[in-house]
């Protein structure tokens, strides 16, 4: 479980996040929704410590995420970026193997097997020797997921996962996320794609100008009582 306590983030004199408090429960899907510039991605970057200059605390099972070693951090948290950020000069297989060899210091054979297994589970076994620019958006995203999943992170974060996908690939991603949660992975998503969020409906935080203005938990709340979230989902 990730606990976000009183997190605020400022760049120069601009407040990006203001006193954010939220809980990301284990084994479920948590969605951060809201308009562009509302602070969803900023919070994701604070959680992954890409932004470190926030105040407040973000803990994973009670340990401050900022204090984790890089190896512990990658095994706790993995992120799939909006534009995937694959290494363009490496093949699909190399993209997945390189972090295993470099960071987790796996042996080449072991890393190759692990990477191939992850890629096979995402239907990419034929594309092992392709370069990222030879793949479609959906395939690139699955490579990015495989690269992150091969590090065995406990929590997987997605930044605007459907922004570069067509409706068919978005639907496939939704199925994949539901399957990952069934397998015990904790998922965090930022999105303003209401179709995706509707399909994943679990825990939702609604952001507006750096503040969480409404939250919803499918086990506790009635969606119709959540005016902003239901308005967003039915837009």
């Amino acid at each position: 479980m990730i606990n976000v306590n009183n997190v605020s983030l400022n760049f120069n004199d601009n407040t990006i996040l203001h006193n954010i408090n939220c809980i990301i429960p284990s084994g479920r899907i948590t969605s951060f929704v809201g308009l562009s510039g509302s602070g969803k991605t900023a919070l994701l970057k604070c959680i992954t410590t890409l932004y470190k200059n926030y105040t407040g605390s973000i803990t994973l099972h009670g340990s401050e995420i900022k204090d984790l070693s890089p190896t512990a951090r990658v095994q706790a948290l993995g992120i799939v970026f909006q534009h995937f950020n694959l290494f363009p000069h490496m093949t699909v297989l190399e993209n997945c193997m390189h972090p295993l060899l470099t960071v987790l210091k796996m042996k080449k054979r072991e890393a190759e097997e692990k990477a191939k297994n992850e890629l096979a589970s995402l239907g990419l076994i034929k594309e092992l020797n392709y370069y990222p620019d030879q793949l479609s958006g959906g395939q690139q995203q699955r490579v990015a997921i495989a690269r992150t999943m091969s590090m065995n992170p406990e929590v997987l974060l997605f930044d605007e996962p459907t922004s570069a996908l067509d409706p068919q690939n978005s639907k496939a991603l939704q199925q994949l996320l539901l399957q990952m949660v069934t397998n015990g992975t904790t998922i965090v998503i930022t999105s303003h794609d209401m179709t995706l969020i509707k399909g994943l409906l679990d825990t939702i935080y609604f952001f507006d100008r750096g503040i969480i203005v409404e939250s919803y938990d499918k086990n506790k709340d009635e969606l119709s009582h959540k005016k902003k979230i239901s308005e967003f989902l039915n837009y």
């Binding site: 890409l50 890089p70 950020n85 972090p99 470099t102 590090m151």
Partner: protein, 223 residues
């Protein structure tokens, strides 16, 4: 007809000496390029925005200002004549030339490297960070991407050094230009001598440019 025959005869006579000079030019240029590339890459990496440490960044900026802001001839003369006084060493023209032109080249290479690394998308650094790479490991991801786009300016810098090495004649290094000056002093036919020297430089540059082209294709994964 006899003039052409005379010129051809003269060219055949001086060619062995000019080729000897060309080899010295090639040797000194490659040494200059090696110093320029190694030092330039180090300085460029230290001054790129992701790895810049304030104090070291200032030092690198000052170095670049100094070497780009003063004539290379002044730097050469200062190196050759000042080093014996300042450091109590007596460099040969070859060594002084490599130091002066290598350090000068490094300033330009550093700017190519700094600018080139800075334009590698920020997302690549972010990906390295979230995958747990440290900064040195991240450079192993970033530098190949930098090289893909920056082989032509780096090759240009090497080619410029081949031509610039001709100023080493001023401190007595018998490279291609100096050899030509010596031959001309004997034959008194500047037109023929300098045309032949020009042609040899052109062949050297074409040869190195072709190697650069092959390297560029290899790095970009083309056949």
């Amino acid at each position: 007809m006899s003039l052409i025959y005379k010129s051809l005869h003269m060219i055949i006579d001086m060619l062995p000496l000019l080729i000897e000079g060309a080899f010295v030019t090639l040797k000194v240029s490659l040494c200059i390029a090696a110093v320029g590339m190694l030092l330039g890459f180090f300085l460029g990496i230290m001054s790129c925005k992701k790895l810049r440490i304030r104090f070291i960044g200032w030092l690198v900026d000052t170095y670049i200002l100094l070497f780009r802001g003063t004539p290379v001839f002044v730097q050469l003369i200062a190196t050759y004549y000042a080093l014996p006084h300042v450091l109590d060493i007596d460099p040969s023209p070859f060594v002084a030339g490599v130091i002066a032109l290598g350090c000068n080249s490094a300033a330009y290479v550093a700017e190519i490297v700094r600018g080139g690394i800075n334009v590698v998308p920020e997302g690549q650094w972010d990906a390295c960070y979230v995958l747990g790479y440290n900064k040195v490991q991240a450079l192993r991801i970033i530098l190949p991407q930098f090289l893909r786009n920056n082989i032509p300016p780096l090759v240009n810098e090497v080619l410029a050094q081949v031509k610039e090495s001709s100023i080493l004649s001023a401190i007595g290094l018998i490279e291609l230009t100096k050899m030509g000056i010596n031959i001309n002093a004997r034959l008194l036919d500047p037109m023929t001598v300098y045309c032949v020297i020009g042609c040899i430089y052109l062949i050297l540059i074409s040869f190195l440019a072709h190697i650069g082209f092959i390297i560029e294709k290899r790095i970009n994964g083309e056949n």
